[in-house]
Each structure stands twice: as structure tokens, then as C-alpha cells.
């Protein structure tokens, strides 16, 4: 889960980038309207190329997307995720209320464990995907997408019963995602004698007088953790993570890493017009309980989904697939548009996801991706692209 809204922010959009290069500055916008994280100056000092994303000025790369991508697959990288949102929900009735707001079943959680979940609108479309951690009985820590903080908070606030407390702590934390096979060595270097929580777990520890919230999750498909520290101490912890061996990585690598794993990006792969069943995320929807949007999901389960988000892999050579490119059958029948696409740095071929009519969504279906008028042969494949 994350908030890479590459299209909205004009990265990955060939026309706007053409313009960007013509004016000599890719992604240049009015920086006054843009928020920056407490690590912004540090990113610039490290030589990052900064780009507006989800309303934030974020590093898209430091030394290069390919190098950063491979460093996460083979060693360890660190991403600034301070733009993401954190909510604290607690009080009598919190569990029952949130269970009616989210698709996954909170009763499956024990203290210190989290789960991926979705918040839907009344039509069963996705408002946001998120991770909800149970800190204690009736006490939850929720991590949401950067672009959705205000909307999520308003939606939750509008449905919240008296007695339950909902707090937006997003500005209080600097978030760092430490990802890669060497993440445990990095952690041992920066927090000697401490231990990470188990997969999907959450743990608060105190180091150097700072409270750190450790979450054993990620958005790359690698072993990793996300940590949230007090915003004022953010630069210090970012430096500690790097000094312990993690390479700073930008949003570019974050996007290619997550797409190789078919992890959905809200705003690209998830939308208020598509249900989690269409997105292939039924595993985090418990239809035996009631929650906002459940009727549509039950109906789709009973009568079928109109579309499915499928994984598309190039079988021939061609320019990299990108958001918005048309996908069609070899006979020219239009199927839809790519939600996400990239030239996979690990696999060396084009990979993409698109919603296609359910009758054309079978694994093995031959399709074509249209790039500047040329048809690139591709095939619908089993998710994820990268088998680990």
C-alpha cells in the first residue's frame, strides 16, 4: 500500500514530460502549493531529483531508478514515506465501528498484529486501501495513502459514533520504509539489542529517548519494515538507517518494485468505480460481515464481476507500457487502458495491469498494448509478475 499517484503528478505521462523536458525541468509545478516532508532538505543534499506527488514534493530518485530498484531486491533500501497518513482510533466500540467501515475482519487480529484492508464507498468502490494495526483491545493504528488523508479522515469522521476517538497523527511522524533482504542487519545496526515484530506485526520501542513504531510490512515484496519516529527526530533516524547500510531510494523504484509484485496503487489500480473483487483483492474482504459497500460485493460474488484487474506481460519487444495506453485483443477489439505499467527492471520486459471485461481476463489470453500507434504483443499472466 502506498500513494504513488504518478499520473496525477505528471510523471509517467509522456505528453506532459515532453513539455517538461522542453522547458528544461521535468515535473516542474508551483512549489508553493506543495507540502514537503521533514526530510526534504536532506533529500536535496543527497542529490535527489524531487517531484510533486500526491500533493507532496518527494524524491523520485537519487542515483538512478534501476540502481535503487536492484539495491532493494539484492540488499536494502530506505524510502521516505512521511507523506503517508497515520490515524489513531480508540475507545469503547472502536472495533465494531471500524469493522463496519473496512472490508477485512478486525476480529482476526490480536494485539500487535495488523492487516491489509480497504475502505469502500456505498457502491462498493474503493476509497482507500490501508493497513490497520491492533495496538490493544479497542485501540488501533491505521496507515493510509498520502493523497487520501483528508478524504479518509472526513469519511471516517462522518460515520464515527460517539465514544470512539479518531485522531489524525499524520504530521507527528516521519515514516521510513526499510526494505530488502539485508533489512534485519540494518535494523540491528541502528537499534542494537532490539528486535523487529513478526510479519504484519507492530511494536513500539524506545531508542535514544525516541519512541519508534515498527511495522513489519512493506510495498516492495522484500523482507522489510516501516518505522515511524517523531517528526523532529526524522533526519537523525534517516541518517542512522543510511549509516547502517540502507541506500536511499525514491518513488520511481518504489513504483517499479510494487508493480513487479502486482501491489495495487490507489488512484491508478484502485478507484471509487471499481470494487476490491474486480481488483482481485477478495482475500481481504470478509463478506460474511457487514461493512459499507458489502452489498455490491455480495452481488458480484453471486452474479460475477464485470471486469477484472489483470496482469499483462510483454511477449515481444516494444516501448515500455505506461498508464493510459490502450490494450486490445489481436483482432483489434478494445479491452481497456493500462492502470499501471513499467519496464520491469528485474524481469527486463514490459509489465502492466489493466481492468478488462471478465470474459477476456483469462490467464494466457493474447493481447496487444498500443504504444504510439504500434501494437506490442503481450499476454495476460498469473499474478504476481515476480515469483518469489
Amino acid at each position: 500500500m502506498s500513494s504513488l499517484k504518478l499520473k496525477k503528478n505528471k510523471v509517467g505521462d509522456s505528453r506532459s514530460l515532453t513539455r517538461g523536458r522542453k522547458t528544461g525541468r521535468i515535473g516542474a509545478v508551483n512549489e508553493e502549493e506543495i507540502k514537503s516532508t521533514p526530510l526534504c532538505e536532506k533529500h536535496k543534499e543527497l542529490g535527489a531529483k524531487m517531484t510533486p506527488f500526491a500533493g507532496w514534493l518527494m524524491p523520485v530518485q537519487y542515483t538512478g531508478i534501476l540502481e535503487e530498484h536492484h539495491s532493494v531486491r539484492n540488499a536494502c533500501g530506505v524510502f521516505d514515506i512521511s507523506h503517508m497518513g497515520q490515524f489513531h482510533v480508540h475507545g469503547e466500540g472502536a472495533t465494531e465501528w471500524l469493522n463496519g467501515m473496512f472490508t477485512n475482519n478486525l476480529h482476526k487480529l490480536t494485539d500487535g498484529v495488523g492487516q491489509y484492508s480497504m475502505m469502500l464507498n456505498e457502491r462498493g468502490g474503493v476509497i482507500d486501501d490501508l493497513i490497520v494495526y491492533r495496538l490493544a483491545a479497542e485501540d488501533y493504528f491505521i496507515v493510509v495513502n498520502a493523497s487520501m488523508i483528508d478524504e479518509d479522515f472526513a469519511w471516517l469522521g462522518a460515520h464515527k459514533p460517539a465514544g470512539v476517538v479518531l485522531e489524525n497523527l499524520s504530521a507527528d511522524y516521519v515514516g521510513l520504509a526499510v526494505q530488502g533482504p539485508k533489512c534485519e542487519e540494518v535494523f540491528a545496526g541502528m537499534c542494537p539489542g532490539k528486535s523487529l515484530p513478526e510479519r504484519n506485526g507492530i511494536r513500539k520501542i524506545e531508542v535514544d529517548g525516541d519512541e519508534l513504531i515498527l511495522c513489519r510490512t512493506g510495498y516492495t515484496g522484500e523482507n522489510g519494515f516501516e518505522m515511524f519516529c517523531p517528526a523532529a527526530q526524522g533526519v537523525k533516524w534517516f541518517e542512522k538507517v543510511m549509516a547502517s547500510g540502507a541506500k536511499p531510494c525514491g518513488l520511481g523504484a518504489r513504483d517499479s518494485l510494487r508493480l513487479e509484485m502486482c501491489y495495487s496503487l490507489n488512484g491508478s489500480d484502485l478507484s471509487p468505480e471499481k470494487t476490491p473483487l474486480e481488483a482481485g483483492l477478495s482475500w481481504c474482504c470478509d463478506l460474511s460481515k457487514d461493512f459499507i459497500g458489502v452489498e455490491t460485493l455480495r452481488n458480484q460474488k453471486e452474479n460475477g464481476r464485470p471486469t477484472a484487474l489483470v496482469a499483462i506481460e510483454y511477449t515481444g519487444k516494444g516501448a515500455p507500457p505506461r498508464h493510459g495506453y490502450a490494450v486490445q485483443l489481436p483482432d483489434g477489439t478494445p479491452l481497456g487502458e493500462l492502470c499501471s505499467g513499467v519496464l520491469s527492471p528485474t524481469l527486463g520486459k514490459g509489465i502492466a495491469m489493466a481492468y478488462v471485461p471478465i470474459q477476456h481476463g483469462k490467464v494466457g489470453t493474447e493481447v496487444q498494448v498500443m504504444v504510439r500507434g504500434k501494437a506490442v504483443p503481450a499476454q495476460i499472466v498469473k499474478k504476481p509478475f515476480l515469483k518469489k
Binding site: V11, G12, S14, K22, L343
Partner: protein, 127 residues
């Protein structure tokens, strides 16, 4: 940013044009352009024999995150393309002014070269 070769001409779209030899120039994107783009993973080359007017998009250079059109600063016919970029697109990053060249064009209006920036003007343009 590496030195901007003195003998070339430059466009505001960050292409370079070599001096003409027998009426043929070599075209590429500048080091500034490759640096802004990041890792180049794909180059769309024009077809040999096709003709273009100055300002036409003749191909594209794509990084992981961005696709960027390549415009020819001069009019003419494509006489050769750098096929090596099909296997090694990263050459554009490594040697933008040399082995990362895109194509060669036979000039149909050699005077167009006079309308382009020289190295000093282009260096200022990038500041």
C-alpha cells in the same frame, strides 16, 4: 554535467546536431537531457529513408518513469539510425554526445543549422 562539445549545434528541446559532413549530420540528445530523464530503458528510432521537417518528433527516449519525444532540429532524410541502442539503451546515459547518438540525417535545408544555439548559448540556456 559534462562539457558541451564546442562544434555541435543545440536545440531548445535539448538535442545536439553535429557539424555537417557531406551534407549529413548526426543527432542525439544532450547530456543535460539524459541526466534529467534518468536511466534510459528504451529508444524508439525513426525509420531509415523517412523524411522529416525541423521540429518533427522522430522518435522517443524512455526512462523508467518518463517517455520523451525526440525532435529533429533540422529537416531532411534519415540515412542511418543507431541500432545499438536497441540492445543497450543505457548508452544514451553513458555517452550522450558520442556512442549514444540517435540518427544521421541528410540535410534538406542546411541553413537551418544557423538558427540553432552554439555551445556557449546552450550552456547558458541550461542554467
Amino acid at each position: 554535467m559534462s562539457t558541451v562539445p564546442q562544434d555541435n549545434k543545440y536545440s531548445s528541446e535539448h538535442e545536439w546536431v553535429s557539424p555537417a559532413a557531406d551534407g549529413v549530420v548526426t543527432i542525439g540528445i544532450t547530456d543535460f537531457a539524459q541526466s534529467e530523464l534518468g536511466d534510459v530503458v528504451y529508444v524508439d528510432l525513426p525509420e531509415v529513408g523517412s523524411t522529416f521537417a525541423a521540429g518533427d518528433a522522430i522518435g522517443a527516449v524512455e526512462s523508467v518513469k518518463a517517455a520523451s519525444d525526440v525532435y529533429t532540429p533540422v529537416s531532411g532524410e534519415i540515412v542511418e539510425v543507431n541500432e545499438e541502442l536497441g540492445n543497450e539503451p543505457g548508452t544514451v546515459n553513458k555517452d550522450a554526445f558520442g556512442s549514444g547518438w540517435i540518427c544521421k540525417i541528410r540535410l534538406s535545408a542546411p541553413d537551418e543549422l544557423d538558427g540553432l544555439m552554439d555551445a556557449a548559448a546552450y550552456s547558458d540556456f541550461c542554467k
